[in-house]
Symmetry: C2
Subunit: 121 residues, 2 copies
DNA sequence: GCCGTTAGTTACGCGAAGGTAACCAGTTTT
DNA sequence: AAAACTGGTTACCTTCGCGTAACTAACGGC
């Protein structure tokens, strides 16, 4: 997404889709949850997303102030991603979306058992 | 969307995106709101969507039980679209999404002033 | 000096999503 | 008899999202 026509529309829903639209954004946000996650970890867990697209989406999300990127001058390099306040504010809404779709609520589950071998995507 | 890999994912957010993902779905749902709208009216208002794609999306939304399609054997033909209960249940969530994105909340506005020349898309 | 590590970037190319425009049915209007 | 109206469908073509794979930087270990 990131379509100019979307972002300048007079309809808020359309503008919102300009920021959150696209296959991956909500999934990334929902996976991040309240945690700080390294890039490699994201890439492993969200294996349906190619590395290239993942970095693109992360960059856009960062530009939109939804996630925070922290790069450390370590060796080997390390980059942590986490939600900003703005991003965190989305979580309860996403939970409602998930609850709407399925009776089960595995987003919580994925977030909580995140080290246990779940395959979120 | 409607990607098989999405719909069978173990992550609810991903499965949810399988149904609601795509540029247009949430916009159509949000535009429908509580009203019954004729096809031509939808096509006019959501002018960013081509007729072809609009019919495709409407068909998918109907298959997923989110909207209801009522065709009348009138002349000229008439088809009304409206949200099912499942679809209506999404509205408060979408309103929250819009509220999250912009301080203004024009989805309500668009729904309420729907005859007054708004251009929702 | 070569490999491995992490976090990317770049070039290349496919396939699906989407736009355009023509066409259809069936009846009233002109 | 032709045009117009509604709600589509279809063929055709273009665009772009996305995947694959190779490559980079900068350092530690062998």
């Amino acid at each position: 997404m990131r379509d100019a026509a979307f972002c300048t529309s007079s309809c808020t829903m359309t503008r919102t889709m300009g920021v959150l639209g696209g296959k991956w954004k909500l999934i990334i946000i929902s996976y991040l949850g309240q945690r700080r996650v390294r890039f490699g970890q994201l890439a492993q867990r969200l294996s349906l997303i190619s590395r290239k697209v993942l970095t693109e989406q992360l960059k856009e999300l960062e530009e939109d102030g939804i996630i925070r990127r922290e790069a450390f001058a370590e060796l080997p390099p390390r980059v942590d991603y986490s939600l900003t306040e703005r991003g965190l504010a989305l979580l309860p809404i996403l939970d409602q979306l998930c609850a709407w779709h399925g009776p089960v609520a595995p987003v919580e589950e994925v977030r909580q058992t995140a080290g246990a071998g779940q395959v979120p995507a």
